[in-house]
Subunit: 504 residues, 2 copies
């Protein structure tokens, strides 16, 4: 069996690992173990499951040093960034423990038997139940928070499902170590063996999605890969939900008023936002609408001068490195963008300095609407709101849109909101879309191809993806889940139409 | 232009109608009108929208006589059934008015700006917003409650979306009249023209699903048609959610204990359930697991004798009529089922008496697992729970499963619940799956091919299908929807993680 190798993007050097791609049989075994674990996990109480999530967070915390060091050598991301990201992973696990304890996510409803205008109505009780084993495909750019130990895993486990993760080829050892941390913590806590599983290898990923034991797929990554996974699902005799978070341009609009008020500040913020993590964030503002005229010119110049002073940053892998250059070249050749700042490379590995392109709003076509992972921004110069509206219609929908307006521009802000709201899942005002807050209300999703249209992959409500409703009609108390039985309960419920807070 | 004809299934006689299939251009116009209406509807308040739903219910009520008479001649369903069904349509519209007023469906969440373990968190506010114009494909078997004036329409409108319905070819005139009632009521109320639209013709239906203005599709009907619609959606440059409710066998299990206690009562209930509406209900118990031995034999005999005494009931259309015979024949020839009661026809039109088939549990294969729309039941004779478990694994998942157990059989009931729970969306105890209650907690969905896995097409939470989350970050009050602004509001919200009831 050929072993897999891991590449250090800082040097471009490949190193052999002891890891091997899972065979079809091994995938089947891992999936079967997950199905067995589901039989156990579904019977556990919410406090037990919250404890499991917290134990897993502690397990990651204990292995922090090894995890971060491994991730540095596989991703080229700086230590501070990776330290913060691991904290985000543990924060997510603990947030979902709180979500599970609070219990509102169950959407419990009780309709007592009653006479209705349509005749006698039986007793109907409904709540959300776990969907079954979930396959999680991590992203290259978040080796912790959107990978094996990431939000999809945390929310799927929180819902009561086992998880089988597919290791990202760009951080194989980080994936393996994360899995080992989580699995050890789960075992020590008393969770069944198949609670968390891991497979390596591209073919293993495909086999996993086809496996009849898998009940849902969470994926963060490239649009093309997402489409392949969706087509594998379509071929299954039983299709299952696919939650993809695929691609996003994240338009940002800045008004003349905003620039007049705080041009330098916006230059700083926007520069940091499109170059942070070497521009490899799904929420990176990939296009910014900048007004024509002096204030706009000043912003453009400020971004370019900051980029000129920059040293090369390491990109995650060879594919991103190559496609960064390819897409940039295509935007210039086919998309009529002008290069204001060309990137240059470091001495070794996959690194680039920031790149700035400029285009007139009237020239925006779907050709300039490709996400370039890496420190690239396309500045769209506009005269008026109509141009912004028309140009935005030519680009695909996004996870986010951002609006910077001035103090006296309430009308402009309302009008711009109306322009962007149908095209995105989150609207940011006078801020930046990167640095997604992990909280109860965060929504990280959007219309296709940002996808997750009806759901989020960040925040408390991400748990909804891995649940399905189940109703019990005329059920004796003993077959009902505790949360739906008569008497006071520790979760909010809707009883005969009326929302009631948790009791006791 | 060829006009469409309407068939009276009681006689089989076709009558010309003045209705014509919509051309591609007409579909485009209707969809564009819906998109225009969306711009208006989304700005209206919840009380306004509740008023619209109630006005539509009143409109249907005013036209009751004409609607029911028309439906009788197109569907062959009896007047009492259709009268009840129209009441269900108006009840649904009014229930959704209550849902809209109550406002919990918005899932409003406010996270105030705060210092978090991951650094400063911005103010994030999230709620569900309407998804856009919805295409609704009605079912043949519910000309009111699952058609133009049905639950998909009511829930899509309640969410704030316009609806374009595709008329079912089996009840063209009923569809047209329903549309006219709803459109007139909407116009009188002051709603924009495109609030509700209608197209006729199969090609028009396909054009509608392909139209870029359409944001979601609701469909109740045959699995094959559902797959065609899904493939049309997959071909769109922007895929959209498809909410299908496709096919369901609805297994029912009866124990020896239940039969010993109330055998005659179960015979009555089960017979009524599988023959009601001529067996043309998506929740019809299509397979019943009956124990071997005397009590089981008695149930079988009681069902057969009731069927022998029956007079033919009209089926909805020629297709259902033909496939009823075809599927029954196939179940006998390929599926090894024994005919205990063969159906016979009436003198004219598309009618049949009930049919009863019997098969041993060990012989159950996917070949006997086809839904036969019409008054047919397959009785599966079993010795023990293991046989039930194995046989159920061979049949597709369903909307419902039903368990009849005796007073002392708590363990059996719990064990049977564990056998069926992963395969269905609703478990009915000591009752029947037909006669779906329209209430806050009803869940009408299930794993594929019952579909709507994550959602319901009946009950208050059906509204969730036509909504999507949107988040506002750092937003000034004036760009926020009223429901997310500071200060007391009349809806429940989650604020900084804590669920709060409506105020004032």
């Amino acid at each position: 069996m050929t072993t897999l190798s891991s590449t250090d993007p800082r040097t471009g050097v490949d190193t052999a690992t002891p890891l091997t791609p899972a065979t079809a049989e091994q995938v089947q075994t891992v999936a079967a173990r997950a199905a067995d674990a589901f039989g156990d996990l579904r019977g556990r109480s919410r406090p037990w499951r919250a404890g499991l999530l917290r134990a897993m967070a502690d397990g990651l915390e204990n292995d922090r040093e090894a995890l971060v060091t491994t991730a540095m050598s596989e991703t080229g991301l700086p230590q501070a960034r990776l330290d913060g990201e691991l904290s985000r992973s543990t924060f997510q696990l603990r947030l979902f423990a709180d979500v599970v304890i609070e219990g509102g996510y169950l959407e419990a409803i009780i309709d007592h038997a009653a006479d209705t205008p349509l005749g006698p109505g039986p007793d109907v009780r409904r709540m959300l139940v776990p969907i079954g084993p979930v396959a999680v495909f991590g992203a290259s750019n978040f080796p912790f928070a959107f990978s094996v130990a990431g939000g999809d895993t945390a929310s799927a486990l929180a819902a009561g499902n086992p998880v089988v993760a597919k290791a990202h080829p760009s951080h194989l050892l980080t994936s393996q170590r994360s899995y080992e941390s989580l699995a050890a913590a789960a075992a020590a806590y008393g969770a069944p063996e198949g609670t968390i599983g891991l497979v390596h290898g591209q073919q293993a990923g495909a086999d996993l999605v086809r496996d009849p034991q898998i009940a849902a797929v969470g994926f963060t990554g490239a649009l093309a890969t997402g489409k392949i996974l969706q087509s594998l699902i379509d071929e299954r005799s039983t299709p299952i939900p696919f939650y993809g978070e695929l691609s996003s341009l994240n338009p940002l609009v800045v008004t003349t008023g905003a620039l007049a008020e705080r041009g330098e500040q916006i230059a700083d913020g926007l520069y940091t936002s499109f170059t942070g993590s070497a521009g490899q964030l799904c929420t990176k503002p990939g296009v910014a609408f900048v007004p024509e005229g002096e204030t706009g010119d000043a912003l453009v110049a400020a971004l370019v001068s900051r980029g000129e002073a920059a040293t090369p940053q390491t990109l995650l892998n060879a594919r991103i490195h190559d496609s960064f250059d390819e897409i940039r070249t295509r935007l210039i050749n086919d998309g009529n963008a002008r290069s204001l700042l060309a990137p240059h490379a470091g001495e070794e590995g996959f690194s680039r300095t920031p790149a700035v392109l400029e285009i007139d709003a009237d020239a925006v076509t779907p050709d300039v609407a490709e996400e370039a992972f890496g420190p690239l921004i396309v500045l769209v110069r506009y005269r008026d709101l109509d141009q912004v509206r028309t140009a935005l219609a030519a680009v695909p929908d996004s996870l986010t849109a951002t609006i910077h307006a001035g103090g006296g521009e309430d009308d402009e802000r309302v009008a711009l909101t109306a322009v962007v709201r149908d095209a995105v899942g989150r609207i940011v005002y006078d801020g930046y879309p990167t640095g997604v807050r992990v909280s109860w209300g965060m929504h990280h999703g959007g219309p296709w191809p940002a996808t997750n249209t009806q759901h989020t992959s960040v925040g408390a409500t991400a748990i909804r993806r891995f649940l399905r409703p189940l109703a019990w009609q005329g059920a004796p108390q003993e077959v009902l889940p505790e949360e739906l039985r008569d008497g006071p309960v520790d979760i909010p419920r809707r009883v005969d139409g009326e929302l009631q807070l948790a009791e006791g």
